[in-house]
């Protein structure tokens, strides 16, 4: 588990080491965070913007 800083509240968020970019992580402060990966594979988190249309079950 990697510990990554929440861009909204600054708290630490646990993220799976093998998380894919685009994975969503919920966090205590109520925001949904999106996993991003830098060129060296480093994990950063951004608030998730949402997507509009869909193809659900």
């Amino acid at each position: 588990m990697a510990k990554v800083k929440c861009p909204v509240c600054g708290g630490l968020v646990e993220v799976d080491d093998d998380a894919l970019p685009g994975e969503l992580v919920e966090h205590d402060c109520g925001v949904v965070l999106e996993v991003h990966r830098g060129p060296n594979g480093s994990i950063t988190l951004k608030p998730f913007e949402g997507v509009e249309e869909d193809w659900g079950e």
């Binding site: 998380a19 894919l20 970019p21 685009g22 994975e23 969503l24 999106e34 996993v35 991003h36 990966r37 998730f48 913007e49 997507v51 509009e52 249309e53 869909d54 193809w55 659900g56 079950e57």
Partner: protein, 281 residues
């Protein structure tokens, strides 16, 4: 090893399962659409044999599929079939043409014509947007006044919502049937049983229970995929008490997590196998 790209916007459980299955079979290039530009005619990593499109957004899916075609890759699903599957009216028109049974439907372009269409179909009438899913904005209207007001609200939303697509209400037995098709074969099916109310979407709390795939459902689902041109899809069928199965829609980027846990069928593996096969041929 063939090189396969997966194009997606959110890494849901489905995308994680697909990535894991693809990794065992191909060299996987993950393309998270929000984090980078795509280059027309210039494949990532110098070349891609096949691309699997998994964007939730219809327009991201169609446009990224088109870019993947410009790379010379085999694209699952290709852009035009994705568009046809993403719009329920385009889908139903293709199904009708091929003689696949569907609920009777009318299209109207003004609130007045929508009320006339509803009167012809009888009440209650299903009034759902041509695009979208999870049962979002789908309405069951009880009378002409309701139809008029829904139509007026839709016109205020604009865009595709100004096309009024009305369907007869099928008196289904509280469930629908989701069939996952891959490469011209039905690989798994589950009933989705509504917790109450007329919508049977998993995203609305419907429970998935495994269904035996009968020959008729399989033939209709596979025929629906062929009519629309998709290689991988989730086909929704409802059972009419008199006419039997009717096809409701074809999902070109299907979710399958609740179906997978209900049936135990590894849908992600079937899809990965198909994409890798397309990368080779």
């Amino acid at each position: 090893m063939p090189r396969v790209a997966m194009l997606y916007d959110v890494a849901r459980l489905e995308e994680k399962m697909l990535a894991a299955e693809l990794r065992g079979r191909a060299e996987l290039e993950l393309v998270h659409l929000p984090s980078q530009p795509l280059r027309l005619g210039e494949p990532p990593g110098g070349g891609v044999d096949a691309a699997l499109v998994r964007a939730i957004s219809l327009y991201r899916a169609v446009s990224s599929a088109a870019v993947a075609e410009s790379w010379g890759a085999a694209v699952v699903n290709p852009p035009v079939p994705l568009m046809a599957a993403g719009d329920k009216l385009l889908t139903q028109a293709l199904l009708e043409r091929r003689g696949i049974p569907t609920p009777r439907a009318l299209v109207a372009y003004t609130p007045e014509a929508a009320v006339e269409a509803a009167g012809e179909l009888g009440y209650p009438v299903v009034f759902k947007p041509t695009v979208g899913s999870w049962g979002r904005l789908a309405a069951l209207a009880g009378d002409g006044e309701a139809v008029r007001s829904i139509a007026e609200h839709r016109e205020a939303l604009g865009g595709p919502y100004k096309v009024h697509y009305l369907q007869e209400y099928v008196r289904k037995p509280g469930r629908d049937l989701r069939v996952i098709c891959v490469g011209g074969r039905a690989v798994a099916a589950a009933y989705r049983v509504s917790p109450g109310g007329w919508l049977t979407n998993a995203a609305r709390g419907a429970r998935s229970i495994p269904a035996r795939l009968d020959g008729e459902a399989e033939e209709l689902a596979v025929g629906a995929c062929e009519a629309v041109g998709v290689e991988v899809a989730g086909v929704d069928l409802v059972e009419d008490p008199e006419r039997g199965y009717l096809v409701l829609e074809v999902n070109g980027v299907p979710e399958f997590k609740s179906l997978t846990s209900a049936t135990g069928v590894n849908v992600a593996a079937s899809i990965a196998e198909h994409v890798v096969w397309r990368a080779r041929v």
